[in-house]
Symmetry: C2
Subunit: 341 residues, 2 copies
DNA sequence: ACGGTAATGACAACCGATTGCCAAACTTTG
DNA sequence: CAAAGTTTGGCAATCGGTTGTCATTACCGT
C-alpha cells in the first residue's frame, strides 16, 4: 500500500496533521483540545486555528479505543413501532444530544433473547444503557447492571436504578372513575406475562377492587398491539363485564375498533380505559379515556440518572429511583354502566 | 495506575487472551475468526473453542479503527415522533440487523443545520447513511454523497441513490377520486417549503387539475404535525373548497379534529384525503382516506441499496433508484361534494 | 543571582483489532 | 530425493487518539 500521503486531499484531518501544521507533537494537540489548561494559551490558539482551518473532527472510534469511553448510550425498546416509545425515544435523544452523547437505538422485538444479546453487544460499544420495559428476569437485569451503568424504565428491580411510571396509582383512579359511573363488573386486559408493568397494575387493581367491593377479572394475556384488541374485545364481551381497563392504548384502540364492528357502542354498551395516552388516543372514535404520564420526561430523567452515574464528578445526589406521576384523562370512551342484563 | 492484570477477572476477553490460551499469535486468532480458510482447521477449532470459553466478543471500536469499517449505518429522520417514520425505521432496523450492521438513529428536528452537522459527524462513525426526507439543498446532498455512501428516501437528486415513494401518482388517483365525487374546488395543504415531496406532489396535482378542468389551489405551508391541522382546516374552510388533499396524515388528522370542533361534518361538508396511511389513519373519526405505500419495505430497500454499495462484491446490478408504488385507500373521510353555495 | 516550584510540551506506550510481508513447515512433482 | 509450490502462522506496523513520564523552561521568593 502507498505510504502516508502528506498531501492527501480529501482525507479527514487528524491531530497529526494539526501537529505538523503547528510544529508541535500530536500529544500537545490532544491536550490543547481536551485539557486546554495544560497548554500555553498561545500554542493552544495556534492549534485551535489550525484545527478549524483543517476542519478537524475527532475520530470517535479512536477516542473510544484509547479512552475507554464511547460517548454512546444504548436505548433498548421492545417495539419501535409502538407509539408509546416515540416520546420516550425523543426524550432520551434530546437529553443525550444535549450532553454530547450519541443514541444507539435498538428494537428488541419483544424478545428476551434479543434483549440479552444486545445488552452483551453494547457492553463494549456503549458507556451505558437504558432499557425500557425489559423482558428479562430480575437476575439477568441485575447481572447486566453490575457489568455496566444501566437504568431501566418501567422495571423495578432492587439494586437497579429505574424510572418508574406510576401507572398503578392511575389504575386506582381509573377504577374509581368506573365505579363512580356505576360499573361493578370490570375486566383487566393483561399485557405480556413478562411485563412487570402489567403484573404490578393487576396487583394494584385487584386489591383496590376488593376494597371497593367490585369484581375485577383478569383476561388475557394480550400482545400490546392493536390487532390483539379484537380478541380482547371478544373476551370482554363474552365475560359479561361492562367496563375494561386495558394494559395499554394499543389494545384499547383495537378493542374500540372490534366493538364497533360487532355493533356495540362505546361507552353505552362498554366502557374502555386505556393506558399511556399515546398518539391517537385523542382522535380515535370515541376518544379514549386513558392514563397519561409525562413520557418524554421519563426519557429525559432516565438519561439524567445514567449520565449522573457516568460522570460522578458533576455532583448532585445520585437518585436511583424516580417515579413519574400519572393521571387519568377522561375522554369519550367511558360512561355510565349499562343496566345489568 | 495499575499495570495490566494478567488475572483480571471480569475484563472482557481480547484476542490476546485467546492467543495466550492457545499458544499462538494474536494475528492468528484474528485470521481464524475472520478468514477461517487461511488457518489450519485444527488450530481454528482450538481458537474457536477458546473464544467460546472466554466469552470473547470482538471490540467493535478496535475493529473499526483498524479496518476502517464501523459496521454502523446512520439513519436520519426529520422527526422521530412522526408515525410515518416508525415503519420506515423498523424496516431499516430489521434489514440492517439481518446484515450484521448497527443502526444509528438520529432525529434531525426538521432542521437543515442539525442534518448537516450530523452528516459530518457520522462521516467517521458510520459506513454509510440513509437520509429520509432531507431538508438539505441538492448541492449539499450531492456533496455529502460524494464523501460517503448515502441513500436518500423521498428525495430525488441526480447522482444520489434514492428510494422514492411514488406519492405523485397516488395524488392523481386522489384527485380523480375527488373529481368522481363531484368536487371541483379542491385545496392542497402544502408541507414544508424545503420538502421535495410536497413540491413534487403539488406540481403533479396542478397539472392533473388542469387536465381535468378543476380548480386546485395551494394553501400553506403547514408544519407536518397534527397541531398545524387547525390552521389548515380554517384556511380550507375560508377558501371555499369542498375537498382537501393534505401533505400528510398528521395534517389531515389535525384538520379532522378542527373541523369537528367547528361543527363541520366530514365528509358531508368537506372531504379530506391524507397521505402515508400512518398509524391512526384507520381509526380516526371518520377513518381517513389516504395514500398508502409500503413504508417498511422502503426502509428495507434503502438499506439493501446502501449495503450493495458498501459490499460491491456481492454482485447484483446496483440500482441507484427505486420507486415504491402507492395507492389510494378510500375510507370515510371522502364523500360526494356538497352542493355549491 | 540561586535553589525550588510550577508550567509546558515532547516522547513513547497503549487501547484491540487488522493486515502486508515473510519465514517455516508441509505437500506435490519431476 | 531434491526442487518447486502451497499452506500456515508469526512479526510488526498501523488506525487515531489518550495519557504517564520526564526533560526543559519560566517564574518565584529570598
Amino acid at each position: 500500500m502507498a505510504t502516508t500521503q502528506p498531501a492527501a486531499v480529501d482525507r479527514p484531518a487528524t491531530i497529526h496533521d494539526i501537529a505538523a501544521l503547528c510544529g508541535v507533537a500530536a500529544s500537545t494537540v490532544s491536550r490543547a483540545l481536551s485539557t486546554p489548561d495544560r497548554v500555553n494559551i498561545r500554542t493552544r490558539q495556534r492549534i485551535e486555528a489550525a484545527a478549524a482551518q483543517l476542519h478537524y473532527i475527532p475520530n470517535s472510534q479512536a477516542k473510544a479505543l484509547s479512552s475507554g469511553r464511547t460517548g454512546a448510550v444504548g436505548v433498548l425498546v421492545p417495539d419501535i413501532t409502538n407509539p408509546f416509545y416515540f416520546d420516550l425515544i425523543r426524550g432520551t435523544q434530546l437529553q443525550l444530544k444535549a450532553a454530547g452523547y450519541t443514541q444507539l437505538l435498538v428494537d428488541t422485538e419483544e424478545s428476551d433473547e434479543v434483549e440479552a444479546s444486545t445488552l452483551e453487544q453494547l457492553r463494549k460499544s456503549a458507556d451505558g444503557i437504558i432499557v425500557a420495559a425489559s423482558r428479562l428476569t430480575d437476575e439477568a437485569l441485575l447481572a447486566a447492571a453490575a457489568k455496566m451503568p444501566l437504568v431501566t424504565i418501567n422495571r423495578d428491580v432492587p439494586g437497579v436504578p429505574a424510572v418508574i411510571i406510576d401507572t398503578p396509582s392511575a389504575t386506582s383512579q381509573a377504577l374509581d372513575h368506573l365505579v363512580s359511573l356505576g360499573h361493578t363488573r370490570i375486566a383487566y386486559m393483561a399485557g405480556p406475562l413478562t411485563s412487570q408493568s402489567s403484573t404490578r397494575r393487576w396487583t394494584t387493581l385487584s386489591e383496590a377492587a376488593e376494597e371497593r367491593g367490585v369484581e375485577v377479572r383478569r383476561l388475557g394475556p394480550f400482545a400490546p398491539k392493536t390487532q390483539s384488541g379484537a380478541a380482547a374485545a371478544d373476551a370482554a364481551v363474552h365475560s359479561g363485564v361492562t367496563a375494561c381497563i386495558a394494559f395499554n392504548d394499543l389494545i384499547a384502540i383495537g378493542m374500540l375498533q372490534r366493538l364497533r364492528e360487532r355493533g356495540l357502542r362505546v361507552p353505552e354498551d362498554m366502557s374502555i380505559v386505556g393506558c399511556d395516552d399515546i398518539f391517537g388516543a385523542d382522535f380515535c372514535n370515541p376518544p379514549l379515556s386513558t392514563m397519561a404520564s409525562p413520557i418524554e420526561q421519563a426519557g429525559r430523567v432516565a438519561v439524567s440518572m445514567l449520565l449522573a452515574r457516568l460522570n460522578p464528578l458533576a455532583g448532585g445526589g445520585t437518585r436511583s429511583r424516580s417515579v413519574m406521576p400519572t393521571h387519568l384523562t377522561v375522554r369519550g370512551s367511558t360512561g355510565p354502566a349499562r343496566q345489568a342484563l
